[in-house]
Symmetry: C2
């Protein structure tokens, strides 16, 4: 089981967190997503997902991965 953290710009509230969680949750292999607008972090757990897939999902939700 992999656990990866992403730093994300632009999340300002709980709705933003939900949008990111929904979109990233659809990536194949992802079993859990925790987003925090306070810290700008998105923590993804699962098996077999790639950084590219997670980054694309976060952008699809309307936000930007900064590292």
């Amino acid at each position: 089981m992999a656990v990866k953290n992403y730093q994300v710009e632009g999340m300002t509230c709980g709705h933003c967190e939900l949008s990111v969680q929904e979109e990233v949750g659809e990536v194949a292999g992802v079993s859990g997503v925790e987003a925090s607008h306070e810290t700008g972090t998105v923590t993804v757990t699962g098996e077999g997902f790639t950084d590219e897939q997670v980054t694309a999902a976060i952008e699809e939700a309307g936000y930007r991965v900064v590292e």
Copy 2:
């Protein structure tokens, strides 16, 4: 047709605007709602709605009317 403005605290993004618009749009007599997180304003148009109803709807959405 009445047009009324409300100053609202706590909207931080477009999702917040949508939440307010959805909730206030359900008030009887309201025909239009425009919310802006940049200015913190909610503009309500319609006929026969009361400030109390709009304020209650905004609070139901999770925000606070400040004037």
